[in-house]
Amino acid sequence: MTHYELFLATYMKGFDILLFVLVYSRHLQRRLPFFAVYATTILVTNLGTTFVYAYFGFRTSISFYAAWIAITATLLTRSFAIAELCSDILAGYRGIWALTWRVLGLLTVAFLVDAAIDAQGQPHWIQAYGLTLERDIEIASVVILIAMLLVGAYYRLPLDPLQRSLVTGLCLFCVIQIVNTTVFRNFFTQYISSWTTGQSQLNLMNNVWNTVYIAASSLCIGLWCYALRKPLPEPVQAPVLLPAGLYQELSPELNLQLRSFNDRLLELLKS
């Protein structure tokens, strides 16, 4: 492990510990248990891989597999945290949630299938396979978060400052990582297919990837820590919903009038 890599790892642990402490001191685990598990996983995997690197060496197969296990655990818990965040924002509005969860679920399945197919086409090297899968899951995460935000904006659903920070952090991290992973994956697949690039260049790319990863993580964890700096307000009560009959009565009437308005406008154009 180089001094630079050691510095990055230590720097990241500081952020992870701060997030972990803030999440549990603000009792976020009561409201968003999966997000709390995600914050814990980030810290545990970081500490675990540091221990493995220190004990077995940085460039050994055990360290290599430990790093990939850490990445998988983080990806999995992050996916659950994203699903939980969508539910936290939309589930209070029962009608809208019933309408959208299937769409979001379908999007997830579609992207996971695409990720599996995409990764299947890669050479049988765990890095190329893993990097492709990681990138595609990050693309899926961004698409799902943006779809959820679009639904929220369309129906003007409220978003509290904490939810806003969590969504911003997750999206920023995923977008930066998509670019980072794509570049590294392309470099790596080129490297293993032609063997024209030297080991020093591979190490350089590895360092660039690590630096961007740390920068993206710091940015999003910093955002979350900032949002958690003050005690969380009392949990917001679920919105008081209208009687179902009102929607059934007004919605068709409203659509009928909007349709006739459009038809008339169209006639007006043709006349």
């Binding site: 509005y93 029962r94 009608g95 809208i96 019933a98 309408l99 961004v142 943006i146 935000l149 929220g152 904006a153 369309y154 129906y155 003007r156 659903l157 409220p158 978003l159 509290d160 400052p161 806003r164 911003t168 999206c171 977008v175 930066i176 998509i178 670019v179 794509t182 570049v183 994956r185 392309n186 470099f187 307000p233 917001v236 919105p239 008081v240 919903l241 209208l242 179902a244 009102l246 929607y247 059934q248 007004l250 919605s251 068709p252 009437e253 409203l254 659509n255 009038q257 909007l258 349709r259 006739s260 308005f261 459009n262 008339r264 406008l265 169209l266 006639e267 007006l268 154009l269 006349s271």
Partner: protein, 186 residues
């Protein structure tokens, strides 16, 4: 560099969308945010259609004919241009009324425990169609003449809905008086 050229533009586009969706709101906007939004503030759902009698007077054909006969050609042309501008502004107002109605439909859906997928999809498509047709009508008003009775019909459609919607709003506002406050909108 490998992949940078085709990943950076979509990444910037995604960040722009994200900024648009999560941009900070002004304190005034925060006050009227949430599904009930502007409706809660006591604003009428439909506003502009009420001014149609004045608009009709301003755009009447009799006035137009009189102008053509009595006024010098240059003045008549100028007056017609201004009348078309008034019609375009009124169309803008009707557009706002339509948007308010559409927004009200979304608000009722958001606050309803059961939502019909077909109704929601239809309203979404109707909104898109309206924006498109409205742009074409505006263009037509800008370039030529639009018969006043056609605009009158559009106003009538909105007018018929207004009373029913305002009655519904009273009911909704009474129910939403128990709504938790202090959250900001997407």
């Amino acid at each position: 560099m490998n992949g940078l050229t085709y990943t950076i533009p979509p990444a910037i586009a995604i960040l722009a969308i994200l900024w648009f969706l999560l941009r900070p709101q002004s304190p005034a906007a925060k006050k009227t945010s949430g599904p009930l939004g502007d409706f809660k503030a006591g604003n009428p759902v439909l506003m502009h259609y009420r001014f149609f009698p004045q608009i009709r007077q301003a755009l009447s054909e009799v006035d137009d004919n009189y102008l053509g006969e009595a006024a010098p050609p240059q003045v008549a042309r100028q007056a017609r241009r201004e009348r078309r501008a008034i019609a375009r502004h009124f169309l803008g107002g009707l557009r706002e009324d339509f948007s308010n109605l559409e927004q009200m439909g979304r608000m009722i859906a958001a606050m309803s425990p059961v939502v019909n997928r077909r109704q929601e999809t239809e309203r979404f498509l109707l909104g898109l169609k309206f924006q498109f047709i409205c742009a074409l009508v505006w263009l037509r008003l800008y370039t030529g003449k639009m018969p006043i009775d056609q605009i009158q019909y559009l106003t009538g459609v909105l007018g018929r809905l207004a009373a029913r919607m305002e009655q519904a709003m009273t009911e909704i506002n009474a129910l939403s008086a128990q709504q938790p406050a202090g959250r900001v909108s997407v």
